[in-house]
Symmetry: C2
Subunit: 378 residues, 2 copies
Amino acid sequence: MPIGFQIEYHDVVSGARAGTLTTKHGKVSTPFFMPVGTVGSVKAVSQQQLSADIGAEIMLSNTYHLYLRPGVDVLQAARGLHNFIGWSKPILTDSGGYQVFSLAQSRKINEQGVMFQSHIDGSRHLFTPEKVMDIQRSIGADIIMAFDECPPGQSEYLYAKNSMELTNRWLERCIKRLDETDDLYGYGQTLFPIVQGNTYHDLRIASCEYAASKNADGNAIGGLSVGEPENVMYEITALCCNNLPADKPRYLMGVGTPWNILECINLGVDMFDCVMPTRNGRNGMLFTTHGVINIKNKKWATDFSPIDESLPCTVSNHYTKAYLRHLFVADELLGLQLASIHNLAFYTWMLREARKQMVDGNFLSWKSSAVEQFRQRL
Amino acid sequence: MPIGFQIEYHDVVSGARAGTLTTKHGKVSTPFFMPVGTVGSVKAVSQQQLSADIGAEIMLSNTYHLYLRPGVDVLQAARGLHNFIGWSKPILTDSGGYQVFSLAQSRKINEQGVMFQSHIDGSRHLFTPEKVMDIQRSIGADIIMAFDECPPGQSEYLYAKNSMELTNRWLERCIKRLDETDDLYGYGQTLFPIVQGNTYHDLRIASCEYAASKNADGNAIGGLSVGEPENVMYEITALCCNNLPADKPRYLMGVGTPWNILECINLGVDMFDCVMPTRNGRNGMLFTTHGVINIKNKKWATDFSPIDESLPCTVSNHYTKAYLRHLFVADELLGLQLASIHNLAFYTWMLREARKQMVDGNFLSWKSSAVEQFRQRL
């Protein structure tokens, strides 16, 4: 078994749970957040900082981006992404389904797969379920994702149904390809199916049941946080959590704000990823234990208090709001680094704290006040 | 006495010497290199990295830039630059003379000072020797520089002579202003005169003698590395070293390549600064113990050896050439960070090694082979 999952605590009054995910590259406490290292680098953050300053135990990378650059040949020559980037902890790779949908210049989907043009140079490429599994073998992540079609958020019922059924047939082909091929670097890789079905309840339930029938080591919920109202996102997440195996980790893809994550932990999600802490950080938006800060605002010019004194992170404790504002105003690269590290440290801390509150039996009341506090604008 | 200087070793066959500079913010072994943190940040590098990964014991900042942003009010409210940026080791500030000459949109020099327009917003400002001393009081660096005129490298004799004499009169006014004012943050600051005189030997000698007559804690050589041939730069540096006090630290401003620095240590220089390791690093040019690398070249695509295995720097040891090349090709911010840290670690190591070789009595022979090795293109 490439990965293991043990649930250690069930919250008594919510769907929240705390456990441990075990991989060949180490253990990760759940629930957890994965910093996004799209092309094998969490933007503006070094692997040492990811580990020491942020406390990240796992990171995510993207098959689509890594396939285009540095390419499969380089990754194989390096004997996998862990070696290539110098990161010895677990890695999860997304399959490229979402990136082909959101980034590629043009794409043509049929039963076989997706023909698309690179967003970098317009070159044409074909992704099939088999090809995507082969690429993910070359990358060598511990957890790899099935190749799915990601229909637009507003798709009509028939389109969403056909798309979900195509994703199911592709899942069969992904599983078959993995069964026929070996891992390349001496440790196992495990495949998570991705649940689709837009916001249609019956499609989501069918998709969950299909995914569950594969008895995978974990299951992902895709196609959310793509423009639907927040309450709909919560509703579909709850529905999926209720229809996915309770003893397997549930991964909600691409979500979201700190309060989104706390609400979805409450619904039974174990794994998260999102570009928000790094992308918003680079735009000067900081998530803190006191609320949200736009660090470019004049009001921080002489605020010599730490960015956030409550986090176990030397960056958040050591540098002041006034200094970080100065770095943004003066367009200094260090500003991007410090804001990204701080935001990721906040996310990591928040998920650890959620776990701690669960163990202490206080999760639900803590969550209510935390959501209120974290989302207020300072 | 704000700073002290003890020479511990004189190289037996060259002008090189090794010593210790003592300031209220700590001791620094000489010869040393100061990373340039123009607006209070060494570009793309955090203060923790500067200390732990690079081993820097002192940094440099610029009066011109700090005066424009964040401004004197913010720096005073923070109680000085050390506090503002979170750096407890020594700092040296340049006076702005060179920046007004090289950066400001327009400038008008007269006896009183320099009227210039900001390179940021075109606003008009007047720098006088008195004003520049006041700003440097507010910044609070351990070592501060006299306000000098920096004439173009190709100036005619009469212009260079007049300019040097103006710089001398301004030096008087700097000293007088400092005598009339107190340090603001409870520790002393010391002023270094700057020797000018272009490439004219008699002017340089006169300028050295004038600077020496002030009995300052150290003396700087300015106006070099501004386009003159390398051998002329060495010739004038040698001349200045021979005409400046032997018992005071000599600071060669803005120089240079690794081999420039080694040659000038040989001539008796103790202190250096230059933007080259960070600026060239951001362009993908790496200085290593084996020679110079353009990391963007295709030849590094599958070179999985460390950036430089010989340096005591986790970045240089941990990341491979292939990964760093990938970061540059994919335009990832981490590439700028890693290249900057590596280059600064190389410079810091090189000056420590020069000191060690001096103590071991091998400096000159080591320098000859090091210069040859470091400057070859890989």
